[in-house]
Symmetry: C2
Subunit: 214 residues, 2 copies
DNA sequence: AAATAACCGGGGACGCCGTCTCCGTTTGAA
DNA sequence: TTCAAACGGAGACGGCGTCCCCGGTTATTT
């Protein structure tokens, strides 16, 4: 399933593998809903699994966090790669990224990166590097086509996606996808050429994001 | 200072009044930074005040929360009212609201409304009503001038302001004001006539926000 | 189908942290 | 100067999240 394979996995038993997947999904939902401090026991409960099982798979919160991030990142990368080859209109490809950002709850999950995850972890670094590559490509193509205003960079788009898809505290995770999409559509309109205003500050690159985002 | 006066205040001593103000400001910062669960003792410490003093002024977290919201709401209302009389260009008035939203950390504070505050509190209700009135006026004038696209409502603007000024978890409160302003500027460009796309769903009114926002 | 090893799950001990109060001390008001 | 109001630090209390233990269960292997 994941292109970045966990190399030396000692062959998990069938039910163990299934539980591992369940835990990852449950953790994603819980973290998205209750933040990074979501009780691990509740994640286990949501996964339909004993808490001991969770701790067996992921020794501590840090480890669980890392693997949730890897899991999610990979899904987004897959979507963007697909968009790069299948969508001929660069600006539509941009919209594709935005749409998948909404679907994958990027906003809810991205804050996890700002916490105690190990940014030196080789798997995470590789995942982030790949994410950077594909989004850069997306932006470059949109620029080249003349549809995207020149004074914005990849960092601007990524941050905006995160912000506009953040689950508003108090509302269910992804309970207002249509609203988010509405506002992202307005934002996209603002990104089109010709530019209607002068923006303060320089275009943001992905380097400006400094470990805080995908 | 506040137009909605706390009626039967039994005359606070000078230092008590000063401390009350300090606590409100510190609470605003802390809530903005660490969410609604920010430790009250830390708020007291940040205010340079003993914890007992905090509990003397505000018996419980709920009370503190309420008064922080009233405090902040009032400041925003004042700014918008000023903008309504002083700014002749309606779209510039809109930008004024956005700008003050950034300055007043609306994004960081608005989530507080989604928690255990009493939405039946008469002071809060009055404050919210007034906030609705002035923002409605702002939007109507922008619509009337023909500068604001017809398929957006006040609710769209308010939610976008909240979202785009949300403090990104892990970064200091208001540490990226310029970035937020940049993206709000792009969003404003998307709001201008003529509309560059068809938006999904109906224009959002303030009623659609249902207690979740100012 | 039986044996074995891996895996599961719930209960509960431990420790941390936030809440709130007590009381001796300080400070503003008259 | 006098008094009441306000202050602040320290600490008891309680809740909750983390993590381990161990008896039971399920998948694999021959």
């Amino acid at each position: 399933m994941s292109t970045i394979a966990n190399a030396s996995a000692p062959r998990l038993r069938a039910d163990a593998l299934r539980n591992r997947e369940r835990i990852l999904v449950a953790a994603r939902e819980s973290f998205c809903l209750h933040g990074v401090d979501a009780p691990l026991d509740e994640i286990a409960r949501r996964a339909g699994v004993g808490n001991a099982t969770l701790y067996r798979h992921f020794p501590d919160r840090k480890s669980l966090l890392l693997h949730v991030l890897l899991y999610v990142n990979q899904r987004i990368i897959d979507l963007v790669e697909k968009s790069l080859v299948e969508e001929s209109d660069p600006f539509e490809a941009l919209r594709g990224l935005v749409l998948s950002g909404v679907r994958e709850r990027v906003g809810g999950l991205s804050p996890l990166l700002a916490t105690e995850v190990d940014h030196e972890d080789p798997l995470l670094k590789a995942s982030k590097r790949r994410m950077h590559e594909v989004t850069e490509q997306l932006i470059q193509r949109a620029h080249a086509s003349g549809q995207l205003r020149r004074d914005v960079g990849p960092g601007d788009l990524m941050i905006a996606i995160v912000r506009l898809t953040l689950p508003l505290p108090g509302s269910a995770c992804g309970g207002s996808d249509d609203l988010a999409m509405r506002h992202l559509e307005i934002f996209l309109d603002g990104l089109r050429t010709p530019a209607r205003s002068e923006l303060p500050g320089p275009p943001r690159t992905l380097g400006d994001l400094k470990d805080e985002f995908c």
